[in-house]
Amino acid sequence: MQAGYREILDSGKEYYEIRLDSIGGLGANLCGKMLGELGLKYLDVNSSSFSSYGSEKTGTPVKGFIRYCKKEKEIRLHAPITEPDLLVSFHEEFLVDANGNKYNVEAQKIAMETHSRINVVMLGAILKVMGVDSILPGEEICKETLGKKYPASLENNLQGMRRGYEEVKLIDRKTEKVECDKNNQSQDPKWGYLTAPLGGINPNYGNSISTNLSHSRQGYVPLFIKEKCINCGLCFSACPDMVFQFVKGEYKGRSMMINTGLDYDHCKGCLRCVDVCPVNALVRGVEAEQENLNYNMPNQELLRKPIYYETAGADGYITSESFLTEKRMEGGEV
């Protein structure tokens, strides 16, 4: 086992720092808040926590930062954590190649099986890896945060957390695939003051098309069964992400626009198209079960293939809490 928070603080390091890298919607913000609060209340340390900030969005990267220190000390650092003692990836998108022990927990699976939220499963796993020798502090904070107002879902969440605590395991880092995608805020901007068009003007019309939105999907993708399609265009009319690629063609002897498939680089997996399709030519599939998305039709308006797709979006999402907290307690996806 890696050194826990207590050993690290006792060794003279001023802070024990945790960073959560996640996608808006998985509950990392609340997880970070609970970690911070339980540190102060139950682990006999001083603590602080905050999330990356931006406008409110699901499906975009969000980061959580938690600091622990000895309780006599005040926490005066307000900057993000860049060299955490514990880095938590809520999404494989954020796996980084770093030194240190690596752990894995099947959070999504456990959450599905226990009808709990991914963030509480992750909380359980984090507590274990941090070296908290009992799940009790986690249970207390869950009861306080989730239990007061919505006791109905509490037992499921507690169970999910316990399983996260029990089932997280050390993995062999040599055989495990790790990828580098830090999505680092501090990297140089595209333009500087010598090169940026004055006044923030952006002359690169339509360049958001080079943003890949695949990781906004939360496990499901729409699958297109072309044989069933009647080319009504309702999927096109319901899609927020301009995913459907229609071309001129012929259907049942009539000249019309023909649906050739989906541009999965921009599909966020909302499944609106599945819901509106009158003939079930679009169905919900579990993304992990699709070897490769054979139907992928790159956006036909692209003049050239982007050299690379950036995985991004607005950089964060938390500005207010109260409504979203209530929503989370009701099991909503935030």
Partner: protein, 753 residues
């Protein structure tokens, strides 16, 4: 010392706790990030019956300041909270508040002033307040936010001036950490004491006039009184700080520092950066370095004397500003610290760095780098810290997509023809030779041939209704389009720099002013076309706004409509300020919970009916008003085509779409079209148009046998499903009655065909 309890809380939360404990009478506010959580937290307390604070959600900060002013004149204890452009929008009210000498307190969670738009923290907003006659306290930590809120009101009432409590947006407003509050609110209330009014406004036996017209002999004396009050503040503050220390054990000065007693190099910082610097400076001093850091807790009245005493031993000072007074050679803090040191005859060398703008993070390493800058003789006296030059040899981006031009969109999928027809109304009056528009086509299949004027890759939430609605609108308009987006989700997700989704000309302006701005754009376009400076040909000017933008920006939109500029105003109504975490808008359904209308034992959600914006727009007499929903796509696109026709030929046109927000409606992204359909079928959102003054119902759920009770729609969304409970039956009944009467009234306006 009084008993205190620990809280794990942020600056905004501590402000809300202080406000609750003080027992204010009224909060007039308009939500703006990052100050919004104060109102949100207080609303939670209100819903739970923990405070009886009157909370008035204004339609903009200017009105919020007006509500506060009125309430303070009437003798109430009044609180406000704002940030950035909100502060600037309300700016003209602040000298009124101070000049007429009515106390109140305002929290400012500091944020950078737009534009280009950013919501992150710096000090460019608070420095606009320097000349308004408000004492300004600046808190560097969440604990200080709490403490200064309590001190501020006592000060305010003692010197009869409004007081601002400022602190860093996000760094202080949002980070949670260990804080303490008094266990018993009585301690707080006793400290502040009873409010005394010299001339009670509501004493009808002794009427007074507030706000006289003054000429030259008098204004200067009024201002001198204000100056005297500031001087009184200067004297009083140390006593208030000391009294507060007796209660809390926490002591404050106007100036605070670490190591300044013998430091040769001193870093002068405001807010959370000072807090961070303490940690680094303490370490450096342990290594024997003669360095220090200092900050201010009082920006007004400026503590020049205290600063010069405090920094007496310093040989070099670096003032780091989180804003710039452009052209002055430093931010306001720099300028005033320099003046203070010069006034006391100190020859100390002072350098200035502008840093951390737009929330650029301040790391511990920055403290060391800034001190290196200070000590390095070769570095200039004034510079920006942390800017990037960029690579001048960088290759220009080649486009990934083509711009969407006239020839690409005129595909003939939607055709507009003019029909002259004679029609007769019920009472037999003849409307002769009416020109009506006939629109054909607009099938969901045919319109797929039109290229997307808004490219994919935008950052809207999965299932968001906004791009769906924009796509439907745009596919009905075959002429070229020029956009203006007001601030809101649609703008944020499409133009995250250095990306943009737009393949046609686009401009953003703040949401008090979009319609006016686009009026200006359109007028110059028509002028240039007349003069032959740009090619002739129809262009449709489209303003896109959320329902929130048409709360605060309603005046501007109505002005544009009344003047009749040839443009189209498109409103996507998701019933809330979604971009900032779902605060109530005037279009939020009654009973809906939002982060400023919580549900609790004392509150059932939003307390008033949704705004009928199409009716308001129709009252301006413009040629075309329509409502649309994605559940009726062909109707939607046909109306877009009509609106475009009127916008280019007659004057202002207005379309409103009901727009799904899975995040804050708290429902499933996949099934949003069904939710929209239910809104239409419940007659909450009837589909109709008002064309040249004649109302036409596009779809009648009653006739189609599809009408459903409003509660059936409300039950589909997490934000309103609590209304199913028996205890809210009367709210639902009121809502149903309102919807029915609006629909009946709408039908009365329809001329039968």
């Amino acid at each position: 010392m009084e008993k205190q309890v620990m809280e794990y809380a942020s600056g905004n939360e501590m402000a809300a706790i202080a406000i609750q404990q003080i027992g204010y009478d009224l909060m007039g506010y308009y939500p703006i990030t990052p100050s919004t959580q104060i109102a949100e937290n207080l609303d939670v307390m209100r819903a739970n019956g923990e405070t009886d604070l009157i909370m008035v959600a204004a339609e903009g900060e200017h009105s919020a300041a007006g509500i506060c002013y009125g309430a303070s004149v009437a003798g109430g204890r009044v609180i406000n909270a704002t940030s950035a452009n909100g502060l600037l929008y309300a700016l003209e009210q602040f000298p009124v508040q101070s000049g007429t000498r009515y106390p109140m307190v305002m929290n400012v969670a500091c944020r950078t002033v737009s534009g280009p738009l950013s919501i992150k923290g710096d000090h460019s907003d608070i420095m606009y307040l320097l000349n308004t006659g408000w004492p300004i306290l600046f808190a560097a930590t969440a604990q200080q936010v709490y403490d200064f809120n309590i001190i501020a009101l006592k000060l305010s009432e003692a010197v009869r001036l409004p007081v601002a409590v400022a602190y860093d947006g996000f760094f202080t407003s949002h980070q949670k950490l260990r804080c303490y509050r008094f266990e018993n609110e009585k301690v707080v209330r006793d400290f502040i004491g009873e409010k005394k009014e010299e001339y009670p406004f509501l004493d009808l036996e002794h009427p007074i006039s507030v706000g006289s017209y003054m000429n030259e002999p008098d204004i200067i004396n009024n201002r001198y009184q204000l100056h005297m009050a500031m001087e009184e503040t200067r004297e009083l503050l140390p006593k208030l700080f000391a009294d507060y220390t007796k209660l809390s054990g926490r002591s404050y000065g106007k100036v605070e520092g670490v190591g300044c007693q013998d430091a040769e190099s001193v870093l002068f910082l405001l807010g959370s950066s000072y807090d961070t610097s303490i940690e680094v400076i303490e370490k450096m001093r342990k290594e024997g370095r003669k360095v220090g850091a200092a900050t201010l807790h009082v920006l007004r009245p400026f503590p020049a004397k205290e600063i010069s005493t405090f920094l007496a031993s310093a040989k070099k000072i670096l003032v780091a500003d989180r804003q710039d007074s452009y052209g002055a050679g430093g931010g306001n803090l720099s300028l005033e610290v320099r003046a203070a040191m010069q006034k006391c005859g100190s020859g100390v060398a002072i350098k200035s760095l502008v840093y951390g703008l737009g929330g650029k993070d301040f790391f511990p390493e920055d403290v060391e780098l800034m001190l290196e800058w200070l000590e390095d003789e070769t570095k200039p006296d004034f510079a920006y810290y942390g800017v990037t030059p960029g690579d001048v040899n960088q290759e220009k981006d080649t486009p990934l997509v083509a711009p969407v031009t006239r020839d690409m969109t005129q595909i003939g999928a939607t055709k507009v023809e003019i029909e002259k027809q004679e029609s007769e109304s019920k009472d037999g009056t003849l409307h002769s030779n009416m020109e009506t528009l006939k629109v054909t086509g607009a099938t969901p299949n045919a319109v797929t041939a039109m290229p997307a004027r808004i490219a994919p890759g935008h950052g809207a939430c999965p299932g968001c209704g906004i791009p769906v609605n924009l796509n439907l609108l745009l596919r009905g308009i075959e002429d070229p389009v020029v956009f203006l987006f007001q601030t809101g989700c649609a703008m944020i997700v499409t133009t995250a720099y250095p990306k943009t989704s737009f393949r046609v000309p686009y401009i953003h302006n703040l949401f008090q002013n979009g319609a006016a701005t686009l009026s200006g754009v359109a007028e110059i376009c028509y002028r240039k076309q007349e003069k032959g400076e740009i090619p002739k040909g129809d262009i449709i000017f489209v303003m896109v706004s959320g329902d929130g933008g048409l709360d605060i920006g309603m005046g501007s939109a109505l002005g544009t409509a009344l003047r009749g500029h040839r443009l189209l105003i498109f409103e996507y109504d998701n019933g809330g300020y979604m971009n900032t975490g779902y605060q109530l808008s005037y279009s939020t359904p009654m009973g809906a919970k939002s982060s400023t209308s919580h549900v609790g034992k004392e509150q059932y959600g939003k307390t008033f009916f949704h705004k009928d914006m199409p009716k308001i727009m129709a009252a301006t007499g413009i040629s075309y008003v329509a409502t649309v929903a994605e559940s009726n796509p062909t109707d939607f696109m046909k109306k877009a085509a009509k609106a475009a026709y009127y916008a280019k030929t007659c004057g202002t046109a207005y379309i409103k779409a009901i727009s799904a927000c899975p995040l804050n409606w708290n429902d499933q992204p996949a099934t949003e079209r069904k939710v929209i359909e239910a809104a239409v079928n419940s007659c909450y959102f009837p589909l109709y148009e008002v064309e040249n003054g004649i109302t036409h119902l596009s779809y009648d759920p009653e006739k189609m046998g599809k009408k459903i009770p409003v509660i059936d729609w409300l039950s589909m969304m997490g934000r309103t499903k609590h209304l199913q409970k028996e205890q809210y039956a009367s709210i639902v009944a009121k809502m149903q009655q309102e919807v029915d009467s609006r629909f009946a009234e709408l039908k009365k306006r329809v001329i039968s065909e």
